[in-house]
Amino acid sequence: MKVNFAPLVEMRGISKSFTGVRALDNVSLEANSGEVHILVGQNGAGKSTLIKVLCGAHHPDHGEFLIDGKKVRIHSVADARRLGIAVIFQEFSLVPFLDVAQNIYLGRESRDSRKMHTEAARLLEQLGIPMDTHLLVNDLGVAQQQMIEIAKALSQNARILVMDEPTAALSEHEILRLFERIRRLKQDGIAIIYISHRLKEVFELGDRITVLRDGCVAATLVPSKTSINELVSLMVGREVDATYRRRFCEMPGEIALETRALSAVNGVRDASIQVRSGEIVGLAGLVGAGRTELLRAIFGADRKTEGEILLGGKRLMEGPEHSVASGVGLVPENRKTEGLALIRSVHDNLLVAALPRIFPNHIYRFRKAARVVADLIERLRIATHSPKRLARLLSGGNQQKVVIGKWLNAGSRFLIFDEPTRGIDVGAKAEIFSLLDSLVAQGAAVLMVSSELPEIVAVCDRAYVMRDRTIVGELQRSELTEENILRLAMHHG
C-alpha cells in the first residue's frame, strides 16, 4: 500500500440536514491512495448521504473537502468527476441496448469507433476481466455490468472510487473476483471507499473501517485491532425515544396470520412466521434483506410461488382484493406513491379501501361518507382544516395517519407496516405508536418492518430477522436487543 504524505481524499467536518432531520453531524473521513476504507453502519446512519455529498449530488451545510491535501470545492457532479471522484451506486447508470464501449464512453464518444473499442477493451483487460466490448450491456450479468461501471470510472481517470454495497447482487464466486480487481486497483494507487453490511468483507478487504452511527462517526479503526463484537456494539446504541412506551402483550390471542414456507416472485424464499392477535411483531434486517418483499407477498401485492398464507386459520386467497376484503391492510414504505393518491382529497383517500364495506349496495351517499370521514379525522387527530384538502399538502405524519385511517375504515384487523415512522417528526411518531398500541389492545395484530432498531426493541413483542430474503431467526421479548438483531442480520462467520 503506497502512502503519501497527505491523504488522497479527505472530508472534514461534514454536516448535512434535510428539513429538520440531521443526516450528518461533523463527519470526517479520509482515504489514502491505495487504501480500501470501508464504511459501515446501520440503515439510516448516514452512509448514503455521505457518499452523495462526496460525489456532488448533495451540498453539505458545513465542512470542506481536500484532495491531495489541497482544499477543493465540490458543487456538482461534474466537479466531483473532474476531481477524480467516481461513485458506483447500486442502480447502475448503463444504457441497456448499447454495447460495452459505448456505455463506458457515454457522452465522450470519439470519432474513431475502433479506437474507442480498443481503449475500452484495454481498460477491462487491466481490470482483469477481458470481455467482448461489442456485447450489449443488456445481455450481461450484474457482475459484468459492475465491471463496466468500474471501467467507466477509470476511463474518467478516477482516483477515488466509491462503491455502494457492490456485493449485494453478486454470487460468492463473483465476489472473490471483485476483490481481486479491487486489490489490483489498490496497487494502482486508487483510493476506494466501500460501503458494506457484510462483516466478513470488512475484515477481508478493509485497510481501515469507519463506523457511522446516527450521522456521526462512532470510530475509525484498523481491522486487525478490532472484532465483530466491537463493531456491532459501536453501530448500535441510539437513544431510545422516551416519548413512547408500551405495555407489552402478556397474553397473545389466537394466531391471526401465519405463513408457511412462503416464496414469491419478488425473491422471498421459504418464509414462515406467525403473528397473534394482540401482538406487534417486528421484522428486522438490513436493506436488501427482503423485508418489504415479504410484506408485499403476504398482502398479495406480489404473486406467491410456493407456500401458504393463513388468516385466522383459513387460507387467504391471492391478491390485494381478497386481502383487503378479509381485513388485511398494508401501509407501504412509499406512502406518497403507494399509500395515497396525492392528487385526491383526504376524504377520498380515507374511503378508497372501504367503499364495498361502507356502501355494500354500491350507492355512494355523501352524508354517510362525510360522517365516517369526520369521525376518523377526529379519532386519529389528522391535522387538516378540511377533509377536502388534497393529500399532497399534508405533512408526512398526517399523510401516514390518512393511510392508517384508510385501513381502519376498511375494517382491517391485521395491519402490515413498512417503515411506519419514516420521514415523520417525533411528536407524530409517538402518536402513531400509541395508536398501534390501542389497536392491538383491542385484538388487532400488527406486523411491522423498521430499519430503526431502537424502535423495534421499544415497541415489538417479538421480532423476526431476515437476511438474503429469508427468515434467519426469531427473537422473543427477552432476547430482543439491538445487538442480537444486528448479529442475525449481518453476514459473518
Binding site: F299, A301, P320, E321, S323, V324, A325, L330, P332, K336, T337, E338, G339, L340, A341, L342, I343, R344, D348, L351, V352, A353, L355, P356, F359, H362, I363, Y364, R365, R392, K406, A410
Partner: protein
C-alpha cells in the same frame, strides 16, 4: 371561483361575442342547432370522459360510431324492426369496447396503441362491409330520435341531458364511479386498496364503446343515411371537448358536466365560424389548435402541481 364556473363564464363570453358578430346567432333555430350538434359530440365524449378519468384513452370511438351506425342501419332495413336495429348498434359498440378493454388489461397493450389499432380494424371492416354503398331512408319513428322534439327540445339534446344525469350519477353516486377516479389518480394505490382494477377498466372501455354505439344511432337517425366512415371527424372534437371541460389526460380529475360544457364551447366556436362564413375546411385546424391549447394547459397545470408536492 371553481374551474367549472370559469368555463360557464367562457360559454357566456362566447355567446356575447357571437351575438355581436352575427345577427343570425341569437335565434332559437340556431341555438337549438348548436345544442343538437353539441349533444352528438357529448354522447361520444361522455364515454371517453370515463376512460380518460381512468388515465386511459380510446381513439376508436369515431370508428366505433361509424360501424355501429352502419350495422344498425343494415339491421333495420333487413328486419324492419327499429328495436332490433338499435339493439344491434348498441351491441356493436359494446363489443368493440369490450375488445378494447381486454386488449388493454389482458395483453397489457398501452391504451393508445390498442385503441389506435382497433380504430383501423373497425374502419376497415366498416368500409369493407359497406362496399361504398349508402343505406338511407328509415322509418319516421326512427328518424324522430334524431330530428324529433319532445317538450320543445330536440330529442338528441334530451338524450344528452339524460346521459349527463345518468353519467353524473354513476361517477358521483356509485362506488364504481369513485373507484374509477381512484384508478385514474393512482392505479397502483387503487390496486393496493383492494379495487379490482382490471375489471373496472374493462367496464369503462365497454361503456365508452356503448356510448359510441348510442351516438351512432342518434347520428343515423339525424342524417337518415349511413355510409362508411361517418364517425371519422368526431374523434378530435370529442377529445377536445373532454380536455376543455377540465378532465385531465393524466387521470383522476374531471367530470361529465365539464365535458358537456367543453362540447358546447367547441360547438359555439365552430358555429361561429359557420355564421361568419369561414369555410368548413378550417375546422380541423381550429379543433386541432383548441385541442393543443387545452392539452397544453392540462400538462402545464399538472407539472406545476407536481412541483409543489
Amino acid at each position: 371561483m371553481s374551474s367549472f364556473a370559469w368555463r360557464l363564464l367562457g360559454v357566456l363570453l362566447l355567446c356575447v361575442v357571437l351575438t355581436l358578430s352575427s345577427s343570425a346567432f341569437l335565434t332559437v333555430g340556431n341555438l337549438l342547432n348548436v345544442l343538437r350538434q353539441a349533444s352528438l359530440i357529448f354522447l361520444i365524449a361522455s364515454g371517453l370522459t370515463l376512460v380518460i378519468l381512468s388515465a386511459g384513452l380510446d381513439l376508436s370511438i369515431g370508428a366505433n360510431l361509424g360501424l355501429s351506425a352502419c350495422l344498425a342501419a343494415a339491421v333495420i332495413k333487413a328486419t324492419g324492426s327499429i328495436a332490433i336495429g338499435i339493439g344491434a348498434g348498441l351491441g356493436c359498440g359494446m363489443t368493440i369496447g369490450i375488445l378494447n378493454g381486454l386488449l388493454i388489461t389482458m395483453l397489457r397493450l398501452p391504451p393508445f396503441i390498442a385503441t389506435y389499432g382497433m380504430l383501423w380494424m373497425v374502419y376497415g371492416i366498416n368500409y369493407w362491409t359497406m362496399a361504398g354503398n349508402t343505406i338511407y331512408g328509415f322509418p319516421a319513428a326512427f328518424r324522430e330520435i334524431g330530428s324529433g322534439y319532445l317538450l320543445g327540445m330536440p330529442i338528441p339534446v334530451l338524450l344528452m341531458v339524460l346521459s349527463l344525469i345518468v353519467g353524473s350519477v354513476f361517477t358521483r353516486y356509485t362506488t364504481w364511479g369513485h373507484e374509477i377516479y381512484a384508478i385514474g389518480a393512482n392505479a397502483e394505490v387503487a390496486r393496493l386498496s383492494g379495487i379490482p382494477v382490471r375489471r373496472r377498466l374493462i367496464l369503462v372501455y365497454t361503456l365508452s364503446g356503448a356510448m359510441s354505439g348510442l351516438a351512432g344511432i342518434v347520428y343515423l337517425a339525424r342524417l337518415n343515411s349511413a355510409e362508411a366512415g361517418i364517425g371519422e371527424p368526431l374523434l378530435l372534437p370529442a377529445i377536445a371537448s373532454v380536455l376543455i371541460g377540465g378532465t385531465s389526460l393524466f387521470g383522476g380529475t374531471g367530470s361529465l358536466g365539464g365535458a358537456l360544457i367543453g362540447a358546447v364551447i367547441l360547438t359555439l366556436v365552430l358555429n361561429g365560424m359557420n355564421l361568419l362564413t369561414i369555410s368548413g375546411n378550417w375546422q380541423p385546424l381550429i379543433t386541432g389548435v383548441i385541442l393543443l391549447l387545452a392539452a397544453g394547459i392540462d400538462t402545464a397545470a399538472r407539472k406545476w402541481n407536481e412541483s409543489q408536492a
